[in-house]
Each structure stands twice: as C-alpha cells, then as structure tokens.
C-alpha cells in the first residue's frame, strides 16, 4: 500500500516535472552561448518595452539571452525571482528601495540620485545585485481625474484639489490598499496639502483609470502611475504635485552581481537607451502598446532604431 502510494507520487512528480519544463529560449551564437542571460519581466507594458529594448541591445552587442519577458503577471514576485536565481536581469524602480530597506517615509527617496545611490549601495552589499543607471523618468503615484472634471472645478494642482475637497466637493477616490497606508502616499498628500479624504469617499482595492474615465460607480478620482500610457485615451488629467510628496520611482535595470562582473559592457549597452527615457518618452511608448495595441517588441525595436542604436531592417 505504502509502496503503491510512493510510486504513484513519484510518477506524479515526474509528470509535473516534465510539463513544468523550461520555456523556449532564443539561442543565438555568441559570447555566452552555453549560459544565456535570463531576462525576466512582468507583463505590464512599461516593463515589457524596456525589457525588449534590453534584449535587443544585448543581442546586438553579441550576447545570448533567454527571453522571459512577460512571464509573470504579478509584480510582487519580481524581486523574489531575482533573489532566487530565476533570472539574471530584471527591472526595478528606485523608489521601491524604501520597501526593501524598510525606510518608508525617509526623505532620501524623494531624490532620484540619492535614492538610486542608496538602493544601489544596499543591494550590492547585501545581495550582490547591481542597479544599473536609472532612466531620467519618474513613474510615481499621483492622483488623476477626468479632463472635464479638472476644467469644471478649476483643478490644476494638489492645492486646488485640496480646496475642492475641503469645500465639500463630491469625491470617490479609487486606490490600492498600500497607498493609503504609508507616509508618502495618501496620508502624506493629505498632510502636505491640508485636506482629508473621508472613509466613505475611498474605494480601496485597485486603481480605477478606466472606471474614472467612464464615471462608473460614481468614481471620479483615482491613483495613477504617472507614465501610464492610457492617460490620453482615457481623457485623464494628472494633478500636478508641486511639493513632490511621493518618492521618485525611476526605472532601472537590475542585474545579478555575477553577471555584471562577467560582462561589465552590459552597463554601457543598456545605458545608451536608458538615458533617453524621460517620463514623456515613456508615456508615449506605453501609449503605443496600451492604446494602439502595438506589441512591445515592435515598439522597443522602432524606438531603438529611432535613436540610432539599432539598424532599421
């Protein structure tokens, strides 16, 4: 009986092993043919676009890569993948450093350079992970409303928004859980600009860009990531934040220390395009994928061609 069970479990494990077998890899001749660099990014537009830019740049530079772009849906697993050796290169944001170092609320994260230096230092020492040069962009968390709403209520920046709220203006704000909890999120905004969103005005769960644009369920305001490509199509307006409350989230490629030691040229190859990615450029690229339905690889390729890093085919 026991023997039967263990045999059966063994067969089951074998079967799942065979099925769970690795993804296909894009082999090309090259420098590290027997040990391709594993690129893994989640399936969100910005990650995928930058991911493909990296892939294309590295391949042009003569490196073999294993393409796992878009392999996972959730962002929370990203760092774990890197730390558990699932991949060699992935992407991160400088502001996230405050979570990894458990320094929520520290002012250092509000500066791109300082935040970058801090997390770079920490991860190198603690996990032997290299943060490559950041893009000069800020994909941070701000509030967005429809253009009509902004025009109708004269809202240009957070001061105007605070005034609107304090005057008892109708508000239904959608936001993910974490943003109402930490110091540089909603509470920080409220403190800095002097307003308070009531419990019944909050819809906690997820960002609701599409719903706000359509006015579903009476929602008229949402937290948004500032490089969201759909802003234009959805007719949204991102409320300006003169006091710069939330941390700076600049996209950076994050690579395993061992990989960088072996192939330090990677830094230059990737910096060549990363330095051109401003917030506006990112919004434009995201827009192509989200609103126009282009596929991220094509968008990446076209962009690299347009800045002269890749030859047009």
């Amino acid at each position: 009986m026991k023997k039967a069970i263990s045999m059966v479990l063994a067969v089951a494990m074998m079967a799942t092993m065979l099925v769970g077998c690795g993804k296909k890899s894009e082999e090309k001749k090259v420098v590290n043919a027997d040990d391709p660099i594993v690129l893994m990014l989640p399936s969100t537009s910005e990650y995928e676009i930058i991911g493909y830019m990296t892939l294309l740049a590295l391949e042009k530079g003569g490196y073999a890569c294993e393409n796992k772009i878009g392999a996972i849906s959730g962002l929370d697993m990203l760092r774990e993948m890197m730390l558990s050796d699932e991949c060699d290169i992935t992407m991160g944001y400088t502001g996230n450093g405050m979570y990894y170092m458990e320094e929520e609320g520290e002012k250092v994260w509000n500066s791109l350079q300082d935040g970058y230096a801090r997390i770079k230092d920490y991860d190198k020492k603690t996990n032997n992970v290299d943060w490559l040069s950041p893009a000069p962009a800020n994909n941070t968390e701000l509030l967005a409303v429809t253009k009509e709403f902004a025009a109708a209520n004269n809202i240009e920046d957070m001061y105007d928004f605070a005034e609107y709220v304090n005057n008892g203006g109708e508000l239904k704000l959608a936001t993910p859980q974490y943003w109402v909890e930490y110091a540089q999120g909603l509470p920080g905004m409220e403190k800095a600009y002097g307003f308070k969103v009531a419990e019944n005005q909050l819809v906690i769960g997820a960002k609701a860009e599409k719903e706000v644009s359509e006015g579903t369920d009476g929602m008229n305001c949402t937290m948004i990531f500032t490089t969201d490509g759909r802003i234009d199509e959805l007719g949204l307006y991102v409320i300006k934040d003169p006091l710069e409350i939330p941390p700076v989230y600049a996209p950076c490629l994050v690579a395993k220390g061992a990989v960088m030691e072996a192939y330090p040229e990677i830094a230059d190859l990737t910096n060549a395009f990363m330095k051109t990615l401003t917030t506006e450029v990112l919004i434009g690229l995201n827009r192509k994928v989200d609103s126009e339905g282009a596929d991220p690889e094509t968008v990446a390729r076209d962009y690299l061609v347009s800045i002269g890093l890749l030859d047009a085919e």
Binding site: V8, V11, M17, G20
Partner: protein
C-alpha cells in the same frame, strides 16, 4: 408540440430584437476606450437587412416545426453569424467616425445578446434534429469559413483580430503551453486516478485515506493551493538547484500542475470507483468459473465494463483542467490565462477565452460520443431484461 416550439420562437424573436438594439457594437478609436456605441443598422448599413432577412427566414422555418425546417434553421443561424462577423469587420472603414489606424469594433451588449439567443436557437433546434452529423458538419464549415476569412484579413476590423495581431508573437507559444499543461496534468491524473479509483472500492483503508486527502484539497481554492504549493517547490529548488532544469522551481508551471492534478484526480477517482462498483459481480464470478486468471478478469472483463464510467470521469476532469490551466499564468507558467487576466480590453480576454471554450466543448462532446459508440453502453438495463427472459 406547441409548447416546445414557444421557446425557440421566443429565442428567434430575441435575436431579432438584439439586432435592433441601439447598443449593438462598440467603436473604439484607440484600444481601450469605447468612444461610440453604435447600432447594428448604423454599423452594417445595407447588410443589416440581409441579416434581418435571415433571422426572419429562421423564424418562418421554426414555425413550420418540421424536421428539415429545423435543419435549415440551424444552417441559416450559422450563416447569419458568419455574415455578421464579416460585415461588421468590413464596415469599420466606411463608418463616418473619427478613426485612427488603431480603431476597432468590439462586441457590444446587443451583439452578445444576439449570440446568446442564436446559440439558444441552435441548441433547441438540435433537439428536434435526428441526423447526428448535421450540426457538427454545419459548425465545422462555419468555423472553417471564419478561419479562412480571418487568415485573409477580412475580419481585421474586429477588436479580437486586432488584439491577436498585437499578441501574435507569444500567442502560439502560450496556446501550446496551455495544451501541454492540460495534457500533462491529465496524463498524471489518469495514471494516479484510475488505479486509485479501483483501489478505493476494493479496500476500505484505501478509501478512507484517499478521500480524507482529496476532500481537503478539493475545498482549497485554486489560487491558494497554488500559492501553498510554491513553498515546497521553493524549498526543494533552493536545496537542490539541479532540479531546476526539470521544472521544480518556485515559479513556472510546476506548482500549478501539481495543484491541477489534485483537482483532476477527484472526478476520475469518483467515477472510476463507481464504474467498478457497477460491474456486476456475476460477470466476474462467471469469468472466474471459466478459468480466467485474476489479471485476465481485470483487463478483459472488469476494465472494459467499467470503461464508460472511467471515460466520464476523465471527461469531467479534462474540461475542468482546460479551464483551470488559466491559473498557471499567474505564476509564470504561461498558457492562455495570460490573456484572460488582462482586464483592460475585453477582446484580449476573448483571445484567451475562445480557444479554451472551444477546447472544453470539443473534449466534452468528443468523449461523450466516444462513450456512446461503445456497443454495450447504456445497455445494462436490457441485459438484465434479457436475463429475466423478457
């Protein structure tokens, strides 16, 4: 007679109403936002009358309440569907709306209502159609026509097609992964489940152990189970990194496969057990008395007689697994779930859902027919009747 007829007539009328509703299709200037809600008349132009005409013909046929009329009704319903898709797509260019190269037409509530009611008409009509091969034939031809149109780019106005083009690079791979996972899980589930099903009806101890495990795992929701399983997988892969190449790692299809296997084993064990229980002990005794050895009796008598029930269990498990595999994408396992979880665009969801539905449907119908083809299926009652000299 008239009572049956009422349902079909109502369904046909609903499909006609759907075509007239002002919210038939969505026009999207770009990818996400439905800028205009348009009616069928506005969208299809003259073709609107053609489709309306077809619906009217179907109504007349259904009222005739004759066998051949139902066959013809099914034919016209399928034809209407193909024509609708074609004309909807074609109409994109001629719509007097502000367009970009990324504009597309997406199914609106009206179109969905039309689809649902027409599907209902076909199903109800098939109850009255005796020719078993007619409907599958019509559907296959329609599918081929739609495929041909799609390949030629004639359906490019539709949002689904546009989504397909933007997802094309990974689509085939995800589809294959999905199928592979399903097949792999089913293979494992059958290898485990069928012998287990036999064991549990033979031994009380086996029954107790098996069902106490299965009853627990059945109640754990899929996502949580997968998350739970990631822990042992992670532990194993950190301790034995060599296992990584076999897919034993924290992410990827591994944990999903194990979870899905657990779920698939359940109906297989249940149905196999019932199948063997149903095998009349009489046959086994007669076989024994004729000098058959234990294994011969099992393979030549018991297994074939339990086969229909076993196949039923496999059918249920397979349909569940095909749909359950969508969870694998959440942890990097790939598969069509990748598309079904993208909430921005309903059409992306469709891109994932359509193959899943087709597969689930085919597996279900296919295995049902396979069982019916066995010459002795459903005949148990008549055997007992024969024994009593009836």
């Amino acid at each position: 007679m008239k009572r049956y007829n009422k349902t079909i007539i109502v369904l046909v009328l609903i499909s006609g109403v759907a075509l007239v509703l002002p919210q038939f299709m969505y026009f999207k200037k770009l990818r996400i936002v439905a800028n205009e809600i348009i009616s069928a008349l506005f969208c299809l132009g003259d073709a609107f009358y053609i489709v309306m005409g077809l619906i009217f013909i179907v109504l007349v046929l259904v009222l005739l309440d004759k066998h051949w009329a139902y066959c013809a009704a099914e034919l016209f319903c399928c034809a209407a569907f193909v024509l609708l898709l074609y004309y909807e797509s074609q109409s994109l260019e001629s719509l007097p709306l502000e367009k970009t190269e990324f504009s597309r037409l997406s199914f609106g509530p009206g179109m969905w209502l039309w689809l649902a009611s027409t599907a209902g008409v076909i199903i109800k009509a098939s109850e009255r159609v005796k020719l078993k091969w007619w409907l599958p034939l019509i559907i296959s031809i329609s599918a081929l026509l739609i495929a041909a149109l799609a390949v030629e780019g004639r359906l490019d106005g539709l949002a689904v097609m546009k989504e397909y083009y933007s997802q094309k690079s990974m689509y085939l791979e995800n589809l294959i992964t999905h199928i592979t996972i399903t097949l792999g899980v089913m293979a494992a589930a059958i290898i485990i489940g069928v012998p287990l099903g036999y064991l549990v009806q033979k031994s009380k101890a086996a029954e107790k152990i098996t069902f106490s495990i299965i009853n627990i795992t059945e109640t754990i929701p899929g996502i949580s189970f997968i998350a739970l399983l990631m822990i042992p997988f992670a532990l194993l892969s950190t301790k034995y990194p060599e296992l990584r190449q076999f897919g034993i790692k924290q992410f990827g299809a591994g944990p999903a496969c194990v979870a899905l296997t657990f779920y698939a084993v359940f109906p297989i064990v249940h149905n196999t057990r019932a199948g063997f229980k149903l095998v009349d002990g009489n046959f086994v005794e007669v076989a024994k008395a004729m000098g058959m050895s234990g294994s011969t009796i099992f393979f030549k008598i018991m297994l074939p007689l339990a086969f229909p029930a076993i196949i039923n269990g496999i059918r249920i498990a397979a349909v569940y697994t095909v749909t359950g595999t969508t969870l694998a994408s959440m942890i990097g396992g790939g598969g069509l779930g990748y598309y079904m979880l993208q909430t921005d665009s309903m059409d992306t969801v469709l891109l994932g859902a359509i193959p899943v539905v087709i597969m689930a449907f085919s597996i279900d119908k296919g295995l049902r027919s396979a069982v019916r083809l066995l010459p002795f299926v459903g005949e148990k009652r008549s055997i007992e009747g024969a024994e009593r000299g009836i």
